[in-house]
Symmetry: C2
Subunit: 505 residues, 2 copies
């Protein structure tokens, strides 16, 4: 192994893990200080090798006792964030760069595939919802992180104050106030939307179903990224659609040349792409590539359905622009609040553009309308202005989580493991050294109380058997670090047993 | 006209309408007394011609002042419920029996029809939701009637107490506590259901979509009652299914001989029938007829999808048993809380029997799961025991409404008008004398601020142009009585203008 890689033994497992809390759920004082320093390191204010404030300085700045400050610095030393230099003080550790390679571009077959993933997904949802399992499976944010948004108080208030008025079917497009708030938020990427352009749906899932229903008929072919969110596959199967999986790079997204060839060779009825931070790869196309995609699609008169569910969870300075912002004809935009504030509320939306009338017909046919009070509560919450600060907190947490998990994976998974490096969202995609099968790892991990999603679920052509997706949506905790370490060790053991097993690091 | 029919002039419009309330929303004392007497009349305790308690008696019994009792009796006299006989006291008015005939059995074409109702329904939903229109359009119960159930307080409490725990995706089948409560309620018709037999859906609409998805493929034919709920037609169209409309009697339901012929002649993939109180006809099959239907279907191996959404709103002594209670193989049961307590909550359910696994797959694909807190609130509400007393109140209100509206229709609509006589639910189906077109009446009524649903919307073969559905879901109010009177007068005027117009009463 390369000398600069951090090995298991070189980082002591944090005895006092980050995120320690007392019984009332408050973070220990020393953890607040540790967090403060970690934030400065993570956001680049304190670069590797830099001297951090002395214990006396931090005592004054943070108004903590000397022993609290010392406890914080010791914890950060344990976690490999800081290094103590005798007679000199504490410095930001020169962390080994993460050397895990990114997954190679995918190579799915260049022909449409009948989708058959039935039965698989509900099973994984059950595992993902099992509170006894380590939550690396389900891609929803930690309840505690969401609670800080206080959306539930808005719902309680709405139920008390407006319960009678709202106990009826909503307008066909959904709560007008909520649609206005959603329209306002499109200004962030410089787009003017009207509340009348938007239809509220039962999560992003229903938005996608409506979009696919209005652009396709049973038997048609839809082009998708590969790997792709298993929920997309489930939808395609339910609507009797065929999938054409496109080669996709973990950084730059769909391969443009492959898309061009596919559009020439196959009667593609629509494309279904993530707007940003594709689940599970984390890839985002640049604005230039997005424009190139739209030009190609316009040339072939193929509509684009985009899923922007992760768009607000960006780690860079600017929110990525959705395809819709480039004002193309025939693009249908889908999103929801499930990944940022309200997975339990099931509120998504669709901007169907020219397909509005048909979307409304189908919306009425499939679910008529959504519950009224959760929509009202979300509208109240959004107009209260609390959403943006909540989003900042969520983004910071996920960025830190991803960094921590990558480091843990780096030091505990077998050599040859590749991992995605998303600039947003909260999932990681791991490619294990072949012939390691993630299903085998899954069974072994379940026995240890650890859940993730095996890679084959993200393809309909039998690919990614050596891959897996882990969710980084939970607030960081030693339990998660230990779980990942266990997973890495399990992977190593399984690999060693294989005939062509690669050497263990 | 027959001499015994009550004419417009023989009943004075109630100057002090029923349901008068003071500013705090409490019914006036005299109204409580009037209601007490009306209930005794409506439930048959006091028959026409019977002497009602004297003013002194009622004063003692109800603990009201003599002037309150007198005001109540005068109001009831105004409303035609009581008659005063000089020197003798008050008697129950010998009301003219309602002579309106029931609609004749429908005669739809005996071949499957492509369904094309798109665009029509969302428009009607918008009218139905317009608070400026008289609410005879939308078949949802009055908000005030629902408010008495206090479900919203359960939601507010759940949001406060369990908001964090419930801000995640529910189990694939939905909230287990809610499913347990729903299973318990099946005991009322003597059936043993397990919570595991039930999947929570986004209203009854999604339940029907799931049922149809798992028993049919695009292009298949589904047999339905005729007329049928326009929402069914919208669903059939969205799923690319064809409709075979069956002759249906306003009292006894689907014509069995016609069903037998249809099953012989047409490859029917499934039947979609109401369990009871079909919307819009109000018909309910007897247990014997239900069994005969099931035998026929078993013989042809055709599954039955039943919609029991009105089942709890029965006016007789016993709740009608759904088809499912007869334990047939291949029956899929659908229902929801929308008609009794929670239209705004969008909580329905499906009991898919042998189709469970496929229903779960499709549920995940279409909407994944429903919002968690409304389900939790409903579970709390049901287990609190408040639902049954709420249902009794709802049933009594709707029974009274239907009686009142039939009397108003009887005295104000043109001769030859036929009207359904449902034993449950809260809609009436009117057949106007031909050539009166209900669309024409609809346009004229809208201008007067009155909304209903024209009959052609309930068929996909262009029938029922002279019919309409009126909802009796609102708490009775002089505004509704006046609206119906206006509607009857409008119908008369339009009919008189027609070349072959029947004579005006």
């Amino acid at each position: 192994m390369p000398a600069c890689r951090v090995t298991i033994t070189s980082v002591k497992t944090a005895a006092v893990g980050s995120g320690r809390r007392d019984r009332a759920g408050r973070a220990y004082r020393y953890e607040e200080t540790a967090r403060f320093i970690t934030d400065l390191v993570d956001n680049g204010t304190l670069i590797p090798g830099a001297r951090v404030p002395s214990l006396r300085e931090i005592t004054r700045q943070r108004r903590v006792s000397l022993s609290t400050a010392l406890q914080a610095y010791r914890a950060l030393e344990d976690r490999g964030v800081l290094q103590a230099r005798p007679q000199s003080g504490f410095y930001v550790a020169k962390r080994a760069p993460i050397l895990l390679e990114a997954p190679a571009i995918s190579k799915p077959p260049a022909r449409p595939t009948t989708v058959a993933v039935s039965g698989v997904v509900p099973k994984f949802l059950e595992y993902a919802g099992d509170p006894n399992l380590l939550p690396l499976g389900c891609a929803i944010p930690d309840a505690e992180l969401l609670a800080a948004g206080r959306l539930d108080r808005f719902l309680a208030r709405a139920a008390r104050a407006k319960g009678v008025d709202y106990n009826k079917y909503t307008a066909p497009k959904g709560d007008p106030r909520l649609r206005r708030e959603i329209a306002r938020r499109a200004l962030r990427w410089g787009q003017v939307l009207s509340p009348e352009d938007i239809v509220i749906t039962c999560g992003c899932t229903e938005a996608l179903v409506l979009a696919l229903k209005v652009v396709s008929r049973p038997g048609d072919t839809i082009a998708i990224e590969s790997p792709t969110y298993f929920g997309f596959l489930q939808v395609l199967e339910a609507l009797d659609l065929r999938a054409l999986e496109l080669p996709t790079d973990a950084k730059s997204g769909v391969d443009l040349a492959a898309l061009a060839r596919a559009l020439e060779a196959t009667p593609v009825k629509a494309c279904l792409f993530a707007s940003s931070f594709n689940n599970p790869l984390g890839c985002t196309m640049s604005d230039e590539r997005k424009r190139a995609v739209l030009e190609l699609l316009a040339e072939h008169r193929v509509p684009l359905i985009e899923d922007d569910i992760y768009g607000d969870i960006y780690f860079g300075d600017d929110r990525p622009r959705p395809f819709m912002a480039m004002d193309p004809p025939g693009t249908i935009y889908c999103s929801s609040f499930s990944k940022t504030i309200a997975p339990g509320y099931r509120v998504g939306w669709i901007v169907p553009g020219r397909y509005m009338a048909r979307v409304l017909d189908h919306k009425f046919a499939l679910t008529m309308c959504g519950p009224a009070l959760p929509q009202a509560a979300l509208a109240d919450f959004l107009s209260s202005g609390g959403y943006d600060s909540h989003l900042r907190r969520v983004r910071r947490t996920f960025r830190e989580n991803i960094d921590r998990m990558m480091r843990t994976i780096d030091r505990t998974f077998p050599r040859g493991t590749r991992v995605s490096r998303p600039d947003g969202g909260f999932v990681l995609w791991l490619e294990l050294p072949k012939p390691l099968a993630s299903r085998e790892l899954f069974e072994a991990a379940l026995k240890k109380g650890i859940c993730f999603v095996p890679g084959d679920v993200f393809s309909t052509s039998g690919r990614y058997a050596n891959c897996l997706r882990v969710s980084c949506g939970s607030i960081w905790h030693p339990r998660i670090e230990r779980g990942l370490e266990t997973l890495g060790a399990l992977a190593g053991t399984l690999l060693a047993r294989r005939p062509r097993g690669a050497s263990r690091r």
